[in-house]
């Protein structure tokens, strides 16, 4: 192989392929985990505010010109903070419709972290920081390189491993805390571990590629319609669908026009109609 070809394949395309599959798998599987844990097929990393929280953390990192690993840690802290606040709100407000309150709390907290991101963009250096932040926030794998992979892949591997090990317990959590406890599950501990695993993956994905919405909502939803609710099957199918989907969409984003389209924009354009269709369809399936 010639030297330029080697450089293109190994240093540019290959890391990007790995990043796309890892990010897609991470977002889809963390979405599946959040949906089971919160007993709500309508939640996802973006709806729960985790993506916005992680993005805020990462933007703080970029703003302070921190090293890559520190940016990822900041993203994780932001993501955990967001999901903790959202869950806290949903627990504190014991309304009639717990699912609705959870989703609304996620939207509200997501907006708050979004405002924080807006403030940092306003304050950022317009010559080099602002374009970097803006481009990254739209969601893109164009800048994916081997160094990104060294922090993305281990985080996704750890998260997936935890979810895979706990897959049978995660099923029991969909019954609700009381019933799960009566079946012998330490619900508080399990919830903390599963949220940590899912948020770790989401944060690593956000730190690597910005906010790529809808994957975490639509892919596990679709997977559940196809193969049922059991997490033993849901997790691998979500991982495969998520990885394949994002790889395909990234390829389209890269090749569709003369300039590259932002990945997050494309997933939103595809995800919105698919989600609306699912909403109508799953109402007939009587479980939304």
């Amino acid at each position: 192989m010639s030297a330029p070809a080697e450089a293109v394949v190994l240093r540019i395309r290959l890391p990007r392929v790995f990043a796309a599959t890892a990010v897609g798998a991470a977002l889809a599987s963390s979405g599946a985990a959040y949906q089971s844990l919160f007993r709500n097929p309508l939640v996802s990393p973006d709806i729960l505010g985790v993506s916005a929280g992680a993005a805020f953390g990462a933007v703080v990192g970029i703003f302070l010109s921190l090293p890559v690993l520190a940016i990822e840690v900041a993203a994780f802290v932001g993501g955990i903070a967001a999901v903790t606040i959202v869950y806290g709100i949903a627990t504190a407000i014991r309304g009639r419709d717990a699912a609705l309150i959870l989703v609304l709390a996620g939207v509200v907290i997501g907006a708050l972290f979004g405002a924080g991101v807006g403030l940092l963009k306003y304050l950022a250096d317009p010559c080099n920081q602002l374009p970097a932040i803006t481009f990254w926030l739209l969601g893109s794998l164009a800048a994916a390189n081997l160094r990104d992979l060294t922090s993305l892949l281990p985080a996704v591997a750890i998260g997936l491993m935890l979810l895979a090990l706990l897959r049978w317990r995660i099923d029991v959590m969909t019954l609700g805390d009381e019933e799960a406890a009566a079946l012998g599950v330490n619900t508080r501990l399990l919830r903390v571990v599963v949220i940590a695993a899912a948020t770790l993956m989401t944060s690593a994905a956000v730190a690597a590629s910005g906010i790529i919405g809808w994957v975490g909502l639509v892919v596990p939803h679709l997977a559940r319609l196809l193969i049922g609710a059991a997490f033993t099957r849901l997790l691998p199918v979500s991982v495969l669908f998520g990885a394949g989907y994002l790889l395909a969409v990234d390829t389209v984003a890269r090749t569709l026009g003369t300039v590259e389209l932002p990945l997050g924009v494309l997933t939103a354009v595809i995800g919105t109609p698919v989600f609306l269709w699912l909403l109508a369809f799953s109402r007939r399936a009587a479980w939304s």
């Binding site: 089971s36 007993r39 097929p41 090990l165 706990l166 049978w168 317990r169 099923d171 029991v172 969909t174 019954l175 609700g176 009381e178 019933e179 406890a181 009566a182 079946l183 012998g184 599950v185 330490n186 619900t187 399990l190 559940r224 049922g228 609710a229 059991a230 033993t232 399936a285 009587a286 479980w287």
Partner: protein
């Protein structure tokens, strides 16, 4: 196990939520293989009492003993290996199959990371067979009827292989035939496996059909406890439900029928 200790003993138990104690100073015990049926009007706190016994709610006062030992401080796993619980409404809203749901009853029998073993699957299959719902096993849980869901929840509790079975109104959503079948299944489990059963119901007649003793809750206290023929009288039912009921004999002396007096006039 201490000799002559009942399987389950409730001592001076007060139960409820912070700032809202719904029942006070309730004491009773249930032996091995005994079925105790709990009666009480809506809002009397039967479910709250059950959840307190199961350890899902902390007792406001008093203790729960199993085989003489205090259950205070037990792990959720130990509780789940001791108590099987059939909630009034349960099963969640995710599209599991009935077999998958019953298999969840085996959760406490394995470690947090383990998959169900062959023994787990066999226990779940047996529980499904015992309740006679084999034809539903591969059906989606959300697509079977309310009565069939209840049978699946009972099967799940059986798969748990508990020593004590707690059922919160297990016949509430069942048709007449399924009511009879569930009560007969409960009765025969108590007799054949020595299972201790605690259940609540809104139908006093069911107590005659399945219970060794019946406990009546009224005003947050234990009004009466004893064999059904002694406890279920016009007087007790009036004090419990505030209606006039005739308790009439049938061909055998174990059973009675309860008919509101207004129907007879």
């Amino acid at each position: 196990m201490v000799l002559n200790e009942p399987r389950l003993r409730i001592e001076d138990l007060s139960y409820g939520y912070p700032g809202n104690v719904v029942g006070r100073h309730v004491s009773f015990s249930v032996g091995v293989g005994e079925v105790l049926c709990l009666l009480g009007r809506n809002g009397e706190g039967k479910s709250t009492l059950f959840k307190t016994i199961l350890g899902l709610l902390p007792p406001r006062a008093g203790v729960v003993r199993v085989d003489g030992g205090l259950t205070t401080g037990w792990s959720v796993r130990r509780r789940a290996l001791t108590f099987g619980y059939v909630p009034q409404t349960g099963g969640g809203a995710f599209p599991f199959t009935v077999a998958e749901l019953v298999l969840m009853g085996r959760t406490a029998h394995r470690g947090p990371f383990s998959a169900p073993s062959i023994a787990d699957r066999r226990a779940a299959d047996e529980a499904i067979a015992t309740l006679g719902i084999g034809h539903l096993a591969q059906r989606e849980w959300l697509r079977v009827s309310g009565g069939e869901r209840q049978l699946a929840l009972v099967a799940r509790a059986l798969a748990q292989e508990p020593r004590i079975l707690v059922l919160d109104e297990p016949t509430a959503s069942l048709d007449f035939g399924n009511q009879v079948r569930v009560l007969e299944a409960i009765r025969s489990l108590a007799e054949s496996r020595g299972l201790t059963v605690l259940l609540s119901t809104h139908h006093p007649e069911q107590a005659f059909a399945c219970a060794d003793r019946v406990a009546v809750l009224a005003g947050g206290e234990l009004l009466e406890i004893g064999p059904p023929v002694e406890v279920i009288t016009s007087d007790t039912l009036r004090r419990c439900y505030a209606v006039e009921v005739a308790v009439l004999p049938v061909a055998n002396d174990r059973h009675r029928v309860c008919v509101p007096r207004s129907y007879l006039s």
